[in-house]
Amino acid sequence: MNEEILIAAMARLITDPAQPPARHVAVGAASPIPAAACWLARHKGADLRLSLLHRPRGNPFTEGSRELFDLAGQGRIDLFFLGGGQIDGQANLNLLGTGEWPGRTVRFPGSFGSAFMYFMTPRTILFREEHTPRVLVPKVDMISAPGLSPPGIFRRGTAQALVTGKCVFAFDAARGRFRLASLHPGETAETIRAATGFTYDEDPATPETAPPSEADRALLRGPVCDEMLETYPEFCRRVWGRTGKEAA
């Protein structure tokens, strides 16, 4: 149930009182864990509006992704989620590929809206389940979206944190560095160091990522999964063993 830990950790980041409020959160394509984290935060009482770009029925947009980007451009989306084939220590994202341009060694899907969204939302939570030196690199081969911009470039925010399958890193934009914030069960400072290609800050003692409470788990398997079944049937089957066709 590693996914449930990631979802719970991400839900806490969404509702972190130290951050600017997330009144309107959008979730892009193929993002079941961020979507589940948003639903969990909502079912725990967070007052947030959720716009799921790929919801097949009741899609929030009547102009597709164009409307999502227009909303973000105006500053009407407070928090978005991004990932990357490579992520480096300055929170640069590479969704393009490795080797010679445009990815002659390994080609990733492409940048999607990252080169715009990363600038436009006050907060971004980075998510990549694979935590290995090939993903978390000292410097990305190509920049789809930069983590930091020089003064004078219009930008509302950058990464708040990076959630992986092994830990949570917080991002300090002023220093341009990640700090190890919590370790998922079974991980140690050493295992994270061995699996991470970039350097980051570390406190003498890093807490464990708090697992979801029993009440959280019940929400995840019940109402959160209900919301997710139509968009992410494969994920719901794998994580919660539900197909949506069970007897009510």
Binding site: G64, R107, A145
Partner: protein, 273 residues
């Protein structure tokens, strides 16, 4: 608007044409793409609006495509687009990378008939470093320095998508996927496949009009039942996730892809009316 057999609709796309296609989740013209493969389409320049999926991967694998301009090529939950990735590795496909809102912006400029439109963000991305056609200016309305990206208009030679229905006046119904209107407005020629032709005029129905694209933009329509398959079509039918998974698996190898073509694409299933 003329109503054509599907094969005749596909035959309208000449070699070398720029063809705008929506992604898998927005009324993709999948059966039209299969008809293009059967028609032996060549040297196409595909524009993903704003990303590309199954139809683009299929056309690349079948050797119909010289260039792709897109923000991503993806099969969604079925994973990476295998024929696209293989063609990039082999160096047989030219790729012009973009970011989603830049493609929307380029089409919005074309629909307004202006040469370019500005877009925030993107500065510092390597996408920009590889786009000599994109320019940075200093915002002329700002009090201080404010670098801003300008995106030139794109008017694709063709756009193709799969709508629910066309009426007798040539209007087509796309429901809430009104971003397709932008593609239709911007493209020089628009070819549409539909599930069915309905009597009357959708624009005279107050409830249907907002989800309808005026036939003035539509050159020709062909009926292709389940024409978005294996993708979903609004509330008409859901995506066939198992088929997309099978495609993703087969298309990992050239041989597997050839098997897929022989099984699902080359036999004309004569869906068209």
């Amino acid at each position: 608007m003329s109503k054509l057999p599907l094969a005749d609709l596909a035959a309208r796309i000449p070699a070398g044409a720029m063809l705008a296609l929506p992604p898998d989740n927005s009324l993709t013209a999948a059966e039209f793409a299969r008809a293009l493969v059967r028609a032996g389409a060549r040297d196409l320049h595909l524009l993903g609006v704003p990303v590309s999926g199954y139809a683009t991967d299929l056309l690349i694998g079948a050797g119909c495509v010289a260039r792709v301009t897109t923000s991503a090529v993806t099969l969604g939950e079925a994973g990476l687009a295998p024929r696209f990735a293989a063609a990039v590795r082999a160096g047989t496909l030219a790729v012009t990378d973009a970011t989603c809102p830049a493609i929307h912006t380029a089409l919005q400029a074309a629909e307004k008939g202006v040469p370019f439109m500005p877009l925030r963000g993107v500065i510092g991305s390597d996408i920009l470093a590889h786009r000599p056609d994109w320019k940075i200016i200093d915002n002329p309305f700002a009090d201080g320095p404010d670098p801003l990206l300008l995106i030139p208009a794109i008017a694709p030679d063709f756009a193709a998508f799969h709508a629910v229905c066309a009426d007798e006046a040539g209007n087509v119904y796309v429901g809430r996927r009104r971003e397709l209107a932008t593609i239709a407005h911007a493209a020089r020629r628009v070819l549409v496949t539909v599930e069915r032709i309905v009597p009357g005029n959708l624009l005279e129905d107050e409830r249907m009009a907002a989800g309808t694209i005026n036939g003035v933009y539509v050159e020709a329509v062909a009926v292709a039942a389940r024409g978005a398959w294996p993708s979903a079509l609004l509330d008409e039918y859901p995506a066939d996730a198992a088929h997309l998974m099978d495609y993703a698996k087969l298309a990992r190898s050239a041989d597997g892809f050839a098997t897929y073509l022989a099984t699902h694409v080359l036999p004309d299933t004569a869906r068209a009316a």
